[in-house]
Symmetry: C2
Subunit: 382 residues, 2 copies
């Protein structure tokens, strides 16, 4: 490993593609004839095959969670701060598995992939998914890797929903479940923000009712708007105030000028939106936000989360962040109450942070300590 | 007055148009050659001309604050619950003046009006405004009506900024200033939401860079999106949860179905957005949200609100609402602290409400009692 990688980095990594030719029956009633998953792994599977950890990504995540694809990369994977030798998700102890989920747009089978029935990209015809479909495909991946039971399934936000669904659907296959900045179901406000983002995408003339690929265009503006809405709501009011305040990016308030004034926060948001629109797929955005909206842990359990969690065998760590208003601490406390009601073993921490929902991705000593201490105990029993 | 109007209503009202032919020098350095204001008044000006109250509207408001334009109207003016005989803004005691401000789109001179220099509508070429320009035009209206001093200037949200600016710019003309759900300046988060709304409008292909009127179209979709963003942020998470929860409007979660599910909150939002797009002008939306962003009470006073308020002679009532997160109670407390620092007479109440920022428009017994008691004392000194 070259000296150029920072200490604690997993260093140079390369994704692998796993092909599954068995048809996957989806919760919508349709069947995916086969699928591919793009996967990265860090660390070594031990002889007992008992130290595997699954990382579940959120709306805009993917398989590249840690390390670098190229020594020249300026940025590591999206959760690099938490995954690596000596880090909370310690690759000296765990075999860490990260994948891009089906329906995604980073190489796994999704709207950008080819539909074998038509020979063209799936596009908007990709089947609607539920989180349980991700779990089903991840279970097939675990089988392929020879992992009968995960030492831990870990996820933030939508990834936390994914982790909870694992614990409920495959109780015997999950020893620990780490649910971070998540919820058992979205609130009306959350659904509302998602629907605004979707309308922004759908109403972009370059969306072409989902067939934009056929026209050789991308609904950049709709995607950028969707991301801008997401971005504002993932940050806290306090953080935006600290970071941007009312600083000007251009123009001036000098009296007598008829020039437009742009605040720093405006140019930052446009930049974030435009950057996202360069890489993300619009059909994936619609599909995954619907997965978020539809997720309801207890729906099939008489709307009783205690009944749902009563099926689980895992131990739980639940983490929320004080300034997160899209997945508020109260949503995490609801999870904890249901777990306690189901007499499960659960630890809960609400971490002080000004970073809103984004906190689950960012450095934070308290968060690192909580997750590190919990996973150290998990590693000792592997 | 027909029996059909509810008790406490001002009944049938009709707007009047006031024409001003004196050029109005604007803060941007340009001059409006003349302008018209659409005005409604309720109650009678007393002989001493000392009982006049100015109502300042917010982003989407206008002159029609109370009563009905037609006996067949199903809805009264936008603040009818608070204006009328025996109501907090008591038309048996006060002469209430409401206007559509310049730059607006409900009849007063704004982007939809004709530009005398070109003969066509002003459109995007209407000069950018500041709240102080509204105050200047309102002062000319007061002169025309023979009102040397307002008994009270009252406004919520942007209207509260308008009321504060009156008290600072014309100290001798404002006896009482009622600042409701407002702020001395917007936060970065608020600016961010406004900019998302503006990008939604600008990127609608029917916007035509502001020249949509020439093409005979309206950027409905952009306006609807802008309103949807506004609407979600004007309500509280709790209220949306109570009102909509996760109820479905169409579709079902029955297993095995590949049909889209629509939540009630989604159809509600689309309805609100589409309704707004029917009547509101896109250039006005851009112009007024910029007024909101640019407003900064203390900018010309060394960024010291105490210095700004030290100029005022009015007494103040400041009201905030517990669940309002766009104009949070803390913003009102900042106003109160600055007024106290300037040794002004100020009363402050934070009203418990689940209705978010919209609370300032809605029925609320505590809010009614606070405003009613305050204005009763104002009326006794008229």
């Amino acid at each position: 490993m070259p000296d150029s990688f920072p200490p604690g980095s997993v260093g140079l990594v390369a994704p692998a593609v796993f092909r599954f030719d068995t048809p996957l029956a989806l919760s919508c009633g349709r069947t995916l004839p086969g699928f591919e998953l793009v996967v990265e792994t860090y660390g070594e599977l031990n002889a007992a095959r008992s130290n595997a950890v699954l990382i579940c990504h959120a709306l805009s995540g993917h398989h590249h969670a840690a390390g670098f694809h190229d020594p020249a990369d300026t940025k590591p994977g999206w959760w690099d701060h938490y995954i690596g030798p000596g880090k909370p998700i310690d690759t000296d102890r765990f075999y860490v598995v990260c994948l891009n989920n089906i329906g995604g747009c980073h190489g796994s089978t999704g709207p950008r992939a080819l539909n074998p029935e038509t020979g063209g990209p799936w596009g908007k015809h990709f089947p609607p998914l539920r989180v349980r479909d991700w779990v089903a495909s991840q279970a097939l991946l675990a089988d392929r890797l020879g992992i009968a039971q995960w030492a831990a399934v870990i996820g933030g936000s939508l990834g936390g929903m994914n982790a909870m669904r694992w614990a409920v659907e495959h109780p015997e296959r999950v020893r620990h479940c780490l649910v971070i900045a998540s919820a058992m179901k979205l609130t009306a406000q959350n659904i509302a923000f998602n629907e605004i983002a979707r309308r922004a995408i759908r109403s972009d003339p370059d969306f072409h009712d989902g067939d934009f690929a056929e026209y050789g265009v991308v609904p950049r503006n709709g995607l950028a708007l969707a991301r801008m809405v997401g971005h504002v709501t993932y940050l806290s009011d306090a953080l935006m105030g600290e970071r941007f305040g009312r600083e000007l990016r251009s123009g001036s308030f000098q009296h007598g000028l008829d020039a437009p004034v742009q605040f720093a926060v405006e140019s930052y948001l446009h930049h974030q939106g435009d950057k996202f629109a360069e890489s993300f797929d619009a059909n994936t955005y619609l599909l995954i936000t619907k997965m978020l909206d539809y997720f309801d842990l207890a729906r099939e359990y008489g709307d009783d989360p205690v009944r749902a969690f009563a099926r689980t065998q895992a131990r739980f760590l639940v983490v929320s962040f004080s300034s997160d208003w899209r997945f508020a601490p109260e949503r995490s406390r609801e999870i904890v109450r249901a777990l306690v009601g189901a007499r499960r073993d659960v630890s809960y921490t609400c971490v002080e942070s000004d970073f809103g929902h984004d906190a689950f991705l960012l450095p934070n000593p308290r968060y690192e300590a909580v997750m590190g201490a919990y996973l150290k105990r998990v590693a000792e029993t592997c």
